[in-house]
């Protein structure tokens, strides 16, 4: 079993804590001049996404988490699971709804996602930062409107709903920032 001592702690290191895989965000060394040293660590639980603070005695060791990030291609969903493939090794992976989270609403077949694997199984699926999706439904806008102000809801081909400027029409393709869920620009379908 691989372990990391507090002296190896740094941002991005993956350790097991209370049975869950976690990622270290920040590591602060605390030591009175004449006293016991501690490491006060900010940690993200990769399963729940929650950030917690935790104090360790300096020199303690923690079990390493078998966590790996890969770029995988989204293949399809069977309704219950989402299937991905490593386009180099052709190895396939199956993610459940918990791992997919909000990502579900941005994905089209063939999109390249960042998938965090824990013990070989998808734990977190992150969509590309920007996706281009077609609009399946939105109210007709007013003529002469520019991209500023107002806006209206538009339903995308994946089912996601985003606010778009009034001039954007059903059938258009738009670029969306998946981190904020916001419209970026109109796009050609080939983008």
């Amino acid at each position: 079993m691989a372990t990391y001592s507090t002296n190896e702690f740094k941002g991005g290191l993956k350790i097991m804590l209370d049975g869950d895989p976690c990622s270290i965000i920040e590591n602060e060394f605390v030591k009175p001049g004449k006293g016991q040293a501690f490491n006060r660590v900010k940690i993200r639980n990769l399963k729940t996404g929650r950030v917690i603070e935790r104090t360790f005695k300096s020199g303690e060791s923690m079990e390493a988490a078998d966590v790996l990030e890969l770029n995988l291609q989204y293949l399809y969903t069977d309704g219950e699971f989402w299937h991905f493939m490593n386009s180099e090794s052709f190895e396939q992976y199956t993610a459940d709804a918990a791992a997919m989270g909000e990502s579900v609403k941005w994905l089209r077949d063939q999109d390249l996602c960042t998938v965090t694997l824990w013990n070989g199984a998808p734990l977190i699926v992150e969509p590309p930062n920007f996706v281009v999706l077609g609009i399946t439904e939105t109210d007709p806008g007013l003529k002469g409107d520019t991209s500023g102000g107002g806006g209206k809801p538009a339903t995308l081909e994946t089912g996601a709903v985003v606010r778009v400027p009034l001039f954007v029409q059903t059938g258009d393709a738009i670029k969306v920032d998946t981190r904020s869920g916001e419209y970026v620009s109109r796009a050609s379908k080939d983008d």
């Binding site: 002296n7 009175p32 001049g33 006293g35 501690f38 935790r54 104090t55």
Partner: protein
């Protein structure tokens, strides 16, 4: 930043010159290791004339032992500005190599030395105003509602959990003092010295290090620390001068290191000899972290901001 450091050093030297305190230098490299379980020496090796097989040397953790030997030889009041080295210490407030101001005053007790430290720091930090004085017991009472001189490990662990120190239930600490360190560093220190600097003094006898212990119920160590903006800036003692008591403390420290399976360097016979034969005059001494003082003077948030080159690019 280079100019700010030079100005600070100039002001400190001016302060001590006015008061007739002599600047001295003592070796950074020692043949002996510090037995204090809270500190670890960096080790190096000399090879050459007089040491064909190589001689292990230790970079000092502070100039305390040789300065006390000078005091025992009758040097009078002295100060030193030097680098000190501590293995295992690196972080926002720590660099394994750092600058220290250490000074000793024969005839002073810890209260007289606190007054002088306040005079120095009020000159260096004129906007800070008068210092607050708070005993270790009062601080724990005020911020945590407990008596640090009577609480046991179980009570302190419970307090840590009540204070929201996550992981306290899983911590395996060696004793009451480590639990007190946890509470002090997590719950009290961050609140000290905002904005008025604080002297924390009269520590538990078990944390005396090299301070005199004043008998009483409870007995108290005549030791103080200075906090500004939640940062520990200095540590001072009404110095222990009794050679026999010093020998017992060294032995207890060495036993504690042995029990923890830690490195044991050769003990220093010369300090004990100086205490026995000098004798060491009744005195008080304090060590003050100059990099941290410069951080406070310049508003820096991390120690590497006030160093020309920190560990990562030294």
């Amino acid at each position: 930043m280079l100019r700010a450091r030079a100005a600070m050093l100039r002001e400190i030297r001016g302060f001590f010159e006015q008061r007739g305190v002599l600047e001295v230098e003592t070796p950074l490299l020692s043949r002996h290791a510090n037995p204090d379980p809270a500190l670890d020496n960096l080790r190096t090796r000399y090879r050459g004339p007089g040491a064909a097989g190589g001689l292990e040397l230790y970079l000092h953790t502070s100039p305390e032992f040789p300065m006390k030997r000078l005091l025992a030889a009758g040097c009078g009041p002295v100060f030193q500005i030097c680098k000190a080295f501590r293995d295992g210490e690196s972080g926002v407030l720590h660099n394994p190599e750092f600058s220290l101001l250490e000074w000793y005053r024969p005839g002073f007790d810890h209260h007289a030395l606190m007054a002088e430290a306040e005079a120095l720091l009020r000159r260096l930090l004129p906007e800070r105003g008068a210092f607050e004085r708070l005993t270790y017991g009062e601080a724990f009472g005020r911020f945590l509602g407990l008596d640090p001189h009577r609480a046991d490990s179980a009570r302190l662990r419970q307090c840590a959990l009540e204070q929201g120190i996550v992981g306290a239930d899983a911590l395996d600490l060696p004793g009451v003092d480590a639990w007190l360190d946890l509470l002090l560093s997590h719950c009290i220190e961050p609140k000290l010295g905002r904005p008025a600097p604080v002297f924390l003094y009269d520590y538990p006898a078990s944390q005396a290090a090299l301070a005199r212990i004043r008998p009483g119920a409870p007995p108290l160590a005549e030791r103080f620390e200075i906090y500004i903006d939640g940062v520990e800036l200095a540590n001072g003692f009404h110095e222990l001068t009794d050679a026999e008591e010093q020998r017992r403390r060294f032995e207890a420290e060495r036993a504690e290191r042995a029990a923890q399976g830690r490195f044991q360097g050769p003990p220093d016979p010369w300090l004990l000899e100086a205490l026995a034969q000098g004798p060491l005059p009744a005195c008080a001494g304090v060590a003050l972290g100059l990099d941290r003082l410069l951080m406070i003077r310049t508003g820096a948030k991390r120690i590497d901001q006030v160093l020309a080159f920190a560990l990562h690019n030294a």
